[in-house]
Symmetry: C2
Subunit: 344 residues, 2 copies
């Protein structure tokens, strides 16, 4: 850990090039009113000393940091990891660095993280807020010069957002199951304080009513989106006097819980129970038999969020934009006719 390379500053480049500090700054920042001959001399000197502007100093002067924040509940969830990757791939070539933070789905911790990011003067924020209704959330978001919501509705924040059209994919999945003869279908999803789950719950009741199948609150579970909650919810639903013949899990964690629960009960897929996952994962993609899934392009989600953010950074007064991305139901081999019909 030797520290021989002292950092080289504008002053040294200026001396090397035989000009003043301000001229060096102008030359390096592509500003007008610098003679070509001088600009060349500066560029040469800068290269020779391998000068790199100090981000902190620049940041103090300009108020920008060239860094943006990403707040999600859990970066180790492949869902958010995929989004983070795509966002980084969009931001990095534009010179922005990505700072991540895990809220653990705790609204007050999330608020603290946002304040910390604020203090670091990040140029923008991409956030999948834990609770859309948290007190002061809109203000905290608006405190950022630029902010993009990841599949969240916070109207008062007047922020840009990237949304998934959960309704279409889920409706198609329900239709598919009903077409197979299912009349009792359960939905396991997250709390209504996050748009994705809220939309799923609405869609579920709308579709079940329209398709004239069981539409009972007991079949629609809304808990935290953890593996354990998924396991628990599925267990309770299967212990109902009239259990469902098909279960849809609202995200990958819940699906993992669902999968573990039916494994522990020794249920066969799809003979004993039909299942559908929301979100494609390694498991749904590679399992044999392949698993039915409501897919969406997570990379596109991350990319779109990053692009919206860059747009807003460039043009802070632009009207808020929403981007709606599709979800697609893909039938594979984890759904079939319900057990009663198979027996008949």
């Amino acid at each position: 850990m030797a520290r021989p390379r002292k950092t080289v500053t504008l002053k040294e480049v200026a001396r090397e090039a035989g000009v003043s500090i301000s001229t060096v700054s102008r030359a390096l920042n592509d500003q007008p009113f610098v003679r070509d001959e001088v600009r060349d001399r500066v560029l040469t000197a800068s290269k020779a000393l391998s000068y790199r502007p100090d981000v902190a100093a620049r940041s103090m002067r300009t108020g920008t940091t060239g860094a943006v924040g990403l707040v999600v509940s859990d970066i180790s969830n492949p869902l958010f990891a995929a989004i983070a990757k795509a966002a980084d791939e969009t931001l990095s070539p534009r010179g922005y660095a990505l700072m991540i933070a895990n809220s653990s789905n705790d609204a007050s911790h999330e608020a603290e993280l946002m304040r910390a990011f604020q203090q670091r003067r990040l140029d923008g924020l991409i956030i999948a807020a834990a609770d859309e209704g948290a007190a002061g959330l809109a203000e905290r978001i608006a405190d950022f010069q630029a902010a993009v919501l990841l599949d969240r509705d916070v109207p008062e924040a007047q922020a840009d957002s990237v949304l998934s059209d959960h309704r279409t994919g889920l409706t198609d999945a329900l239709q598919h199951l009903v077409d197979l003869g299912h009349e009792r279908i359960a939905l396991i999803t997250g709390t209504a304080s996050q748009r994705g789950s809220r939309v799923r719950i609405q869609t579920y009741f709308d579709a079940c009513r329209r398709l004239k199948v069981a539409c009972e609150p007991a079949l629609c579970r809304s808990e935290q989106m953890t593996v354990d909650d998924g396991y628990q919810s599925v267990s309770e639903v299967l212990d109902l006097p009239e259990p469902p013949t098909a279960i849809i899990a609202g995200n990958n964690q819940l699906f993992a819980g669902l999968f573990a629960a039916i494994r522990d009960r020794g249920l066969r897929i799809p003979e004993d129970l039909s299942i559908v996952a929301c979100e494609e994962t390694e498991l749904t993609a590679l399992h044999r038999p392949p698993l039915d899934v409501v897919r969406r392009d997570l990379a596109e989600l991350g990319r779109a969020a990053a692009e919206l953010l860059l747009e807003r950074i460039d043009e802070p007064t632009r009207a808020p934009r929403q981007i709606l991305l599709p979800t697609v139901f893909e039938a594979r081999a984890s759904s079939d006719r319900p057990p009663a019909e198979l027996a008949a």
Copy 2:
């Protein structure tokens, strides 16, 4: 996006508390020589104005940023995502923010990322370098005040490192397969420029020789650790005149490729082929039948790396430390006796 809240600085707190700027700074930083009564007044004023020190300004003065970088090949790989999460959970309570960057396993791109981090004056770096032998890597690492290598050997860097004991887990896996009667076992792993794969390759040849089973270079594939490479390598190995009866994949991506390849060939597990994965994932944990795996605690890896980094930040001159963490082979249901024996 209203911007009403102008940032409140030391000056305003000083005015509010009726003292000078320096006194406020001292009071807030728990320095001696501040009367209790004054300190209280400052703290009250600070709270009233909800003062937050400007990170950029402090950074310029002190040279520290309270941020550390994490460089991995791909943050969307659950393996690195899990490490990132654990590292963040250790660093965040200590006031450090985490900046991530994806090298895409490209050594020159990685070098550029490190320079960018350097320029941001990050207080430390955690890195799973793409190529241990890359020119100048050791110097670039040493340029950081603190650095921790993630399962990499770069002796000249004199850096701290967290290593996995790949040998034990893999040896046990090979022993298990040989005990079952396998005499031709293939290993699909990454390039030797990364410690994990290098150790696996050595271990593979050592163990095969000792156990007196086939020890041919054709059965040991060393490529990039991507799903496609895994698929390709497995295909080629299975097309050999004498194909293996068991295959071990060196990481989760390669295992995904392996899994897809044998699915496409319609091979049954474990009747037609025994397989073992390195790294536990959703797939290996939840698949039915459950899959044999060489596990390690990724969270522990991330945590240990973060802790080593914090130690070194606090004590820059301390001698480099290595932490070796275990790997464990767990037999489940994806390995059995080879086809020939089963037929007999």
